[in-house]
Symmetry: C2
Subunit: 193 residues, 2 copies
């Protein structure tokens, strides 16, 4: 699912600028579903314009920069429906946090604590954003379904982390990393990232 389809999807709901589309995926209805950055949105919108799947008008605002508001065309709607009629790929999750946490027995306890707390904070922020996104009220049931799914998953994650935080703490190393005693100190230039 490329950025073009994602943008078309955003425009199915309502006209929007590139900036506003991004906010939909950052804070709004789609925040629990997918990520898109400016670097993929703006080029995508350019291509969409060329294909006449969207039109563009410039909206002047006071106290703010002008914005380019895009609207989906009928052929754009058709192309979008065509795109989403192919079987969707399986969900993909990327959690560096869980990966790192799974090596908590190699890390100082204080680090693991900080990690879990930041993880909880991250999901609380996301939950707040999703809760306060207006989509829940007047949106059609399908949209509410997706919104509620995200809410449910976020709440579950937070609850799990809070409930099991102490379990993790007991496992992590107090000070000197007993599981890595045999290691030469970490010196090397760069690391594996």
């Amino acid at each position: 699912m490329d950025a073009k389809t994602l943008c078309l999807g955003a425009l199915m709901h309502d006209d929007a600028s590139g900036y506003e589309i991004r906010k939909l995926f950052e804070d709004g209805l789609f925040s629990a579903i997918h990520d898109v950055s400016f670097g993929s949105i703006y080029p995508a919108l350019t291509v969409l314009l060329e294909r006449e799947w969207v039109t563009c008008r410039i909206a002047e605002q006071d106290g703010r920069p002008d914005k380019k508001v895009y609207s989906i065309t009928e052929s754009g709607r058709a192309a979008f429906l065509d795109a989403i009629s192919t079987p969707p790929a399986p969900d993909k999750m990327r959690s560096e946090m869980l990966f790192v946490l799974s090596f908590g027995d190699y890390l100082p306890r204080a680090d693991v604590m900080a990690l879990v707390d930041r993880y909880i904070a991250e999901y609380r922020d996301r939950l707040l954003a999703l809760e306060s996104c207006s989509c829940a009220e007047n949106a059609p049931p399908v949209r509410k379904f997706v919104n509620d799914f995200g809410l449910k998953m976020y709440k579950t994650a937070i609850a799990f982390l809070e409930d099991h935080r102490s379990d993790l703490m007991n496992q992590a190393n107090g000070e000197a990393n007993s599981n890595v005693e045999h290691l030469t100190p970490v010196t090397a230039a760069g690391g594996a990232s």
Copy 2:
């Protein structure tokens, strides 16, 4: 978090071949956390060998092809711990399924039904795989923590989808897509993907 770090992490637990590492991310402990494909694992292992962060031996098996079993070295462990000591990036989810489902009001009801059912089946499969992965029993608590997190999230997703399946059905269009009546038929070459 690149494939090199992911491979090193897999090898922290135990020696493994590229094929076995992939299975860890496909079916095993890491299946709820991250994806890696062969196309990124094999080149990563080659680089890891060059850097002497892993060693390699060839293991003959009967009835099966030989395999190259990799072991992490001490400098590899140090590099790994160095890599995971940088603050992890926020979780990223990519769900084409939820995205498409959120446009259920533009799709025939039968399609939406099939979609939800496949989605449920997908998560049931993942749940089974994660449940039957041996990591839960004798693994240290941190590993169990991550495993249980995945289990919890999968179960929650399945339960939500089963509970709300009927809500979605009521919303989706019976036959002729009443929300897209004004559309020209989908003809165009290719679609937006």
